[in-house]
Symmetry: C2
DNA sequence: GCTTGCCAATGGTGCTATCAATGCGTCATG
DNA sequence: CATGACGCATTGATAGCACCATTGGCAAGC
């Protein structure tokens, strides 16, 4: 975002290569090769490597070059890494682990929102849920997704816990990945719409238990709908 | 870690300044000023700024310089940011939100570990729990902390979900912060020791429900022991 | 007085050149 | 065959340059 287009291009390309397994762990690169391949100076290549190093994808050392690290060293909670991995192979496993994370976090966040959300947020949640029903029944998946993301993000950010709020990007990536990878039914199941409305109502009524239960049921359903978790 | 000492020094100093509120949002810096203050070249200052930008602490723009961002833009889940904030004012609020996150994640992770942990890990958990009792009753807080971290880290990493594993650093930072900030009793309460043993046993017995319940009770107790959450 | 548009100062962006530091491979030597 | 010293490749760090987007002020016109 804030970083320039130049950096992001190189970063995304190399990041995708590594996370996809295209460039396996142990491979070693040099600043020179990156520079020539992308037509950038060593300065830019170096800064990109710094970022990748920070993301745990590579380690750089003198004389050794830049060596690619294994998946267990990656900063898997990073939104960029998640996006890359959702685009590559292994996206099913990725969706499973992320959904499990949602299962842990979102119910508590919903309960928090029921306690702490601003009046404006509560109203916005109710409105979003009703519009979701309309669009869902109309089968407008793209717009539905936008609202879905908005709703979950609102709940996380208004939960009163910034740590939950910080996961909004992750949840957005998952939701977006789910529809864009064709894992959504042509039109959302009625139960999901009911539950979203239930969450919104519970938050509006300042009823933490009901909000937690409804959200838990939403994520639980998503989890069951995923490919079998071997 | 992997980044050099030079970078880390500058990064830590500026990071602490910003997260502590010492340098308020809206302040603008220049590469020049940072370079001269720390006696580093503009290149290094630039790379540090790239990192800080990525962490959401600053945004850099042409002509504008580098402007400090507000707390709502920070990457609060980042281990570095967490460490900085635990050292500064507002550590109580920080501990509260982090504990709530633990409350969401750790019980599920324990259940996962009961399903997926390797035999070696199960054995190691049981051994760690028993040694924790010994050291806890002896009042060796420092060594107790080491084992405590080890146990929680094992559970998270063996949960079968790398997302939980990625939070091990966060949990370690919290545990470490809790004892080093003097929020621990001189010797751990017996209930905590019991519950840790209960988790270890449940994982060893491959009993997810028991593991989840015991872990939930551990974190729940920690939560109650915190300063009132206004 | 207020708006519109232009201009110059500012400070990050990206490049090149250069030297220092440092590990890895190699080769000579015992 | 083992061991140690040397050379070389490659990152780390600095300096200085050209470039240009942004901003704030200034001036002209309505």
């Amino acid at each position: 975002m804030a970083t320039t287009a130049l950096h992001t291009t190189v970063l995304d390309t190399i990041g995708r290569r590594i996370t996809s397994g295209d460039v396996p762990a142990g491979t070693s690169l040099t600043l020179e090769s990156i520079g020539t391949e992308f037509g950038v100076s060593r300065t830019v290549a170096r800064e990109v490597m710094r970022l990748l190093e920070w993301l745990g994808l590579v380690r750089s050392g003198r004389r050794v070059g830049i060596v690619v690290l294994g998946a267990d060293e990656w900063n898997v909670l990073d939104a960029r890494v998640i996006r890359w991995r959702l685009e590559g192979p292994g996206r099913d496993a990725q969706l499973r682990t992320l959904t499990e994370l949602r299962h842990a976090v979102e119910p508590l966040a919903a309960a928090g929102a029921a306690r702490n959300a601003s009046d404006a947020a509560r109203a916005s949640l109710v409105e979003t849920a009703t519009r979701m029903r309309v669009l869902g029944e109309a089968g407008d998946l793209e717009e539905f997704l936008r609202l879905d993301i908005r709703m979950h993000e609102l709940l996380l950010r208004e939960s009163g816990n910034e740590m939950f709020g910080a996961l909004a990007g992750v949840v957005a990536a998952v939701l977006s990945g789910r529809t864009h990878l064709g894992l959504m039914p042509a039109s959302p199941v009625p139960e999901a719409l009911d539950q979203h409305e239930a969450v919104a109502r519970a938050v509006a009524d300042a009823d933490p238990e009901a909000a937690e239960a409804a959200m838990s049921s939403i994520v639980g359903e998503v989890r069951r709908a995923l490919p079998a978790d071997t």
